[in-house]
Symmetry: C2
Amino acid sequence: MADCPRRRQRLAQDRSPDDAQGDARLAEGGSRRAPRAARTSKRTRIQRENAERIMDAALEVFSREGFRGATIDQIADAAEMSKPNLLYYFPGKEEIYRALLDRLLETWLAPLREMDAGGEPRHEIRDYIRRKLEMARDYPRESRLFAGEIMRGAPLLGEALKGPLKDLVDEKAAVIEGWIRQGRLARHDPRHLIFAIWATTQHYADFDVQVRAVLGDEGEGRFSDAARFLERVFLDGLLPR
Amino acid sequence: MADCPRRRQRLAQDRSPDDAQGDARLAEGGSRRAPRAARTSKRTRIQRENAERIMDAALEVFSREGFRGATIDQIADAAEMSKPNLLYYFPGKEEIYRALLDRLLETWLAPLREMDAGGEPRHEIRDYIRRKLEMARDYPRESRLFAGEIMRGAPLLGEALKGPLKDLVDEKAAVIEGWIRQGRLARHDPRHLIFAIWATTQHYADFDVQVRAVLGDEGEGRFSDAARFLERVFLDGLLPR
DNA sequence: CGTCGATTTTACCAGACGGTCAAGAACAGG
DNA sequence: CCTGTTCTTGACCGTCTGGTAAAATCGACG
């Protein structure tokens, strides 16, 4: 942790050229005014650049203010763009938000997905904690966006939680249960273990002001301190004695 | 945990008769329209009852929608009261919110405050986890209100975090360090331990939808399962081996 | 039972906000 | 350099929202 360099570019942003758009209902109902950006399947350079600028600005604003607290004007300002121009690229506020969540979800699941049934339990869990903590450190805005959506009752992400997210947790819970049956881990509920890792790591992004306030000046090394603490507690607590 | 009955009344609500009011600047600047409720120091029965109904409704709405997402109309509806009538008791939206936070803070710190330097470390930490988890179960709205305020950068609670909250954590961190020096606990950073307990317990209130989505039908006993899991992991991880 | 303050309501307002429109500016392809 | 398309903008609109004014109603107490 302490030794890996900061980075803050590209999560799932570099996927296909035609992604991350609020084009949910783009090519449908004929009568609706279609001449929005990207009616043709090919996107121009300007379209790609501006869509990206908007997404980044929206992440900044939504993660700080929440969905209702954010205004299109704020996002447009942050994207250095007029409001009507922004609305030329996205049909509305909710679509921008939805686009952000869409591309966030798989990024969010990635660290858990990497957990390898064939690996050594101690090693796999420690690495999972590290990866999650790195995400909290390097992508706090994404963490807060996600947290905000869940705390509001997940009006948009609700189905994804019961689908892909639950499926992944079920899969990895089975892996952990396998390790337990082999006697390589102490008997614990694997789902609550996963919750605990989510909670403790994301805490350092979502509650950053509180963490800083409590730690005061000594807060500089909070992420490496947290890594040390969490790895030791979880491993000592999880391994059979 | 599993055996203590549900309850959902009174946290710090029953303090003095003249509390929990947005009366920050009540008896000041003479020229401002004063005839709001409670200009005299004595509150009538109706004033107490209505202020309470408003606070409860506001907690419901603010905790679900966030500060900016909540509207005075929603709060008034929830309090079964007209908007102007509500504004007869509180000078504005922010004052209601502020009043909620004011009375929440000391409730929130209480469980940690109870941790006793003279007690047995294993017992004290286990009980602290239990108390926090009970609060997450019985007062999820308060938990979400607090979380929302912190996530927005704690614009109102900021000073309280650096003052009373930090002081309390410092005090209890010293207690834990004492236990460590006595060899009764393994060497760990006590502040990150406290963060971890906060994070894991509050997770069950703040991220309830996610927890439910992942656990599905088996989610009924989530609080007692969580208690079992957290107590074991933290204690096994914290005690010297 | 009348009076005066406490309480409640109806009507209203100014600004913010999400979104639209039509016209102008920039640009790519021929 | 012309032209059709893409991009950008200033002006505008209906609704929502926080908050106010003032009149009407209630209720305790002499």
